[in-house]
Symmetry: C2
Subunit: 195 residues, 2 copies
């Protein structure tokens, strides 16, 4: 395993998503892996850490998640901009070899054998918290994070270090179509009196 | 009204949140206004536009939303970094004059008279879509966007223009404590074959 990929304590896992990056969603069922992009993913709770992600009914990845009850949310870097756009716009239903065609490399970091996308900065392995009403009416899925990992080039000691890592490590934030913004400069608020 | 604040067509409203900014949440009930910060807000649907936001049970703003069924989600700019941090860490329950103490200026943009925070780049007025199970178990609230506005210094013709606006217009993305990142540089993916 890549020595730069370190486990993240679960009580810090929310920090991997709080700044609002676009993510990749991966899943596995019955011998099939798939990966999609999702701009609408969000932290939901600290401990145990939970998150939400919106998964359209047309996606094959959603079907794998519904069948297996597991998925991985991962944070692509600027280096994966094109890959992120392509896994988000091409479907395995039309291209059975989509992952190879796009050039997705999968790792197996956890004991579960779930597919993790190589080259990301962080990975959150999740157990689906079944909420059929949310899933059916809103396409809204809730996951409980059971393991988290990050690349220490850019996330160390519980903190993002975008300012010291190279620009290729920046998270990417989708707007529409092929348009994204990279995350930018660090800003610090003064602590208020009661902190 | 500020001539730079323009209505945003509802079918473009999702673009105001898709890049994952930290937001301010404002609400009004029975003569009381309040404003809080929320890093965990996310687009949920395109048409009609919907969004999710996580609101802790300890917040006074949540109580106003539960009572009135209405709220505004707005996107603070880098200029409002300190204000965002302070409305997120100080409570009206302890400081009844919190908004004045922090220096929050409120506008009334919509016909509803709801409080909008001045100096933001975008505003989404929402009707609460009641989902008592989500609200109670997950602190998760769903809003349907009924009106949207943006400042044309930084959002024009349905697009964010962070790259041409001054740095004070950048959205801010919370990590933890007083630590944020501003949104950064624009990046474009090549269109894939079927686009």
């Amino acid at each position: 395993m890549n020595e730069h990929i370190q486990a993240v304590p679960l009580d810090k896992a929310y920090r991997l998503l709080t700044h609002g990056p676009t993510v990749l969603v991966s899943a596995h069922h019955a011998g099939i892996d798939n990966v999609m992009a999702a701009a609408w993913a969000c932290a939901l709770d600290f401990a145990p850490p939970k998150l939400t992600v919106v998964l359209d009914k047309s996606t094959r990845t959603r079907a794998l998640i519904e069948a297996s009850g597991q998925f991985v949310i991962q944070v692509p870097t600027a280096r994966l901009l094109q890959l992120t756009h392509e896994v988000g716009t091409r479907s395995r239903a039309i291209e059975p070899d989509k992952l190879d065609a796009v050039g997705v490399e999968l790792l197996r970091l956890g004991a579960s054998g779930m597919p993790y996308v190589a080259g990301c900065s962080a990975w959150l392995e999740c157990r689906l918290v079944p909420e059929p009403h949310n899933q059916q009416v809103y396409d809204l899925f809730i996951g409980e994070v059971t393991a988290a990992w990050a690349d220490d080039h850019v996330f160390r000691n519980g903190h993002w270090e975008f300012e010291s890592a190279g620009p290729e490590w920046r998270s990417i934030h989708h707007v529409a179509g092929g348009h994204f913004y990279a995350i930018g400069e660090a800003m610090a608020a003064r602590l208020s009196e009661e902190e």
